[in-house]
Symmetry: C2
């Protein structure tokens, strides 16, 4: 199917990827009933649990389960599902060597043994993990956290459609973890025909605020959509980040911004993951998506603008969401404004810029970064959170 | 024809409206030869001279001349040319009561008698000026400067394709008056696949700079495209404005901005003229177009967002250029940034805002407005220009 620009900017907002919002949710009673038939069980990793939730809630529409060999190969090699629909990254369920699949269904459980859902097994296959690492991640270096997860996954994967419980989450994140149908309903209730999504796994400093506000100026609303699934060591905990996001909301009109948490694993797959991030936001009802420098990258595996270039190279109808590509932002003393290299002609010494390392060491020492870099309300929270607990 | 989003964002830039860039230019020798056959002459008003130049240079593509009765009626009533192509405002050539049209061609001259071009007469018709005022301008009030021009035009209009000299202009404006083929070549030379156009007939203060920079962040380049044709009394003279635009250029990277002057009359037709302004920028190669509050309005004839709403209501393929709709911008002391009501939650007292009247009286008194309102370099120029000459 094709999705016209008219559709994207019209009052209906974005169509889900593939045209229909997937809903594979079960309530806990249904799940128990389905799984009560003495099914074999499979224990999922934390990343697989997050993927399962994303499939069941429709965040990964049109996926209705975990991929088989044909989907895996097509996605890895062509960046498309076998029917031609754009899809950048395999979503697989590892089958440990010792696991046996007898019947047609598997009960899916977390590492506490809690029932999450059910898989209708269609196939067990040997997952080409090395090919996946090379073509999707561009490297087989196990120092890459996403590649390590692929290469350390079981040699076999089990495929098929799922149904799963999308249980309420606890803590400050829980109330913010809206499903795609919930964000869509929220957009509709606010009358937003065009919505820009912002993905982040970091606290929001003024540079990000600037990108979000630039983008918001020409659409109806902003979805501040931090990813809160499994991330790598060293990333700021989700609970701290959520408080920091709530602090930055004070600088936005409440009628123009929605803060929601996306439960999904980070893969750090750079350009390919930028495409996934865009499609997931399209499924949540966004019409536009912010892509910064080195989007979803880690270390120096990807070129600074590689993710933006991949998104720009895709036919607009295939992507179905408008990528808004931004350079790094900074405060310029001579402009007296936030800007990027695209909009400011002045040299580096005029700019207030801090490296991630500098910021972390300032925060750890209890020092507020300059207000041109970080809102004091946000920085104070991060300072508090970085203090050792008594 | 349809113009897909892919075309708009691809390396070719925007297609001209209707698909082909019109070129009806003659050099002076050719014009002299064409007009030497003892043709009758018609003297054009200043606004008609500017329209003639816009047609000949392709700025009004697909128009190749002045409209006849059928085009006039279709444009006035349907906002479309008879073939269905979007076109918002009649472009007519008045035929004074005393003028006679004998032959098939007319020599077109300015009020100094200089030869401008030639009209191949296809039709003389009674122009429904009142209907045009009502449907295009939404009023028949002669206090409206665009309506006054329509209602005071001759009762008859003469139609047909033209050829005309697009002569170099003198003064600070002249070297900046690029034709659509020249702006397109400039975009290509700079490698800009996406370009946002900014229409203005006023000096550029920080609010406009903010809109332009917001828009520029997500495209390749900016066309700062002031209109320098006949405007109404009280507007700042084009020469002064051009110096002020050159001053603001110092706040942009030279590789990202092109300053060019659009020679065309202002009609102050609000929403309908916003559509014309967008199509003219599409013809110049822009893929995006900034639309502010009360775009091309005058007095209080149009609603604040009426122009934006009309543009948003048009099918994207019909328009073929992406309108970027902005609210009014101001400096917010609490945000420490430029913002609009869409991106700032703070109340009016936190905002640095001056009315046009306040600014004019400050400038006339030789006072610099606050730097949050106007760059000192720009304000100084306007103060100098507003001083009575000795």
């Amino acid at each position: 199917m094709t999705i016209s620009e008219r559709t994207l900017t019209g009052p209906r907002g974005a169509l889900p990827h593939g045209g229909v919002l997937v809903d594979r949710r079960l309530d806990a009673d249904e799940a128990g009933a389905v799984a009560s038939g003495g099914l074999g069980s499979l224990m999922l990793t934390a990343a697989e649990v997050a993927d399962l939730r994303a499939v069941a809630s429709g965040a990964y529409s049109p996926l209705v389960g975990f991929m088989g060999a044909k989907e895996h190969q097509s996605v890895v090699e062509q960046m498309r599902l076998p029917d031609g629909l754009l899809w950048p990254i395999p979503v697989c369920l590892g089958l440990p060597d010792e696991a046996r699949v007898d019947g047609g269904r598997l009960a899916l459980r977390d590492d506490q043994g809690r029932l999450l859902g059910v898989l209708e097994v269609t196939e067990v296959f040997d997952r080409d993990r090395r090919g996946e690492a090379e073509l999707v991640y561009g490297t087989t270096d196990v120092a890459h956290p996403g590649v390590a997860r692929v290469l350390q996954a079981p040699a076999r994967a089990v495929a098929g459609p799922i149904q799963a419980v999308v249980a309420p989450l606890g803590g400050p994140v829980g109330s913010r973890a809206l499903t795609p149908s919930e964000t869509r309903a929220a957009f509709q209730a606010r009358g937003w025909a065009s919505v820009v999504g912002f993905q982040t796994r970091n606290p929001v400093h003024r540079a990000h605020e600037y990108l979000m506000k630039c983008a918001l100026e020409t659409v109806d609303g902003l979805l501040l959509h931090p990813l809160v699934g499994p991330t790598k060591d060293g990333d700021v905990p989700a609970e701290v980040r959520m408080r920091a996001y709530e602090a930055i909301l004070e600088y936005f009109p409440p009628s123009r911004v929605l803060l929601s948490a996306l439960v999904a694993p980070m893969r750090y797959a750079g350009p390919r993951e930028a495409v996934l991030h865009a499609l997931v936001r399209k499924n949540h009802g966004c019409t536009h998506f912010i892509v910064g420098r080195d989007h979803a990258g880690v270390g120096s595996y990807y070129g600074t603008f590689e993710a933006q270039e991949l998104l720009a190279s895709l036919p607009a109808d295939d992507l179905g969401i408008v990528p808004l590509r931004f350079d790094n932002a900074f405060w310029c003393r001579r402009c007296g404004a936030m800007a990027t290299a695209k909009t400011c002609p002045h040299p580096d010494p005029d700019h207030v810029a801090l490296s991630g390392t500098q910021v972390r060491s300032m925060l750890a020492a209890g020092q507020l970064p300059p207000p041109e870099f970080s809102r004091a309300e946000v920085a104070s929270l991060l300072i508090d959170a970085s203090r050792p607990r008594p």
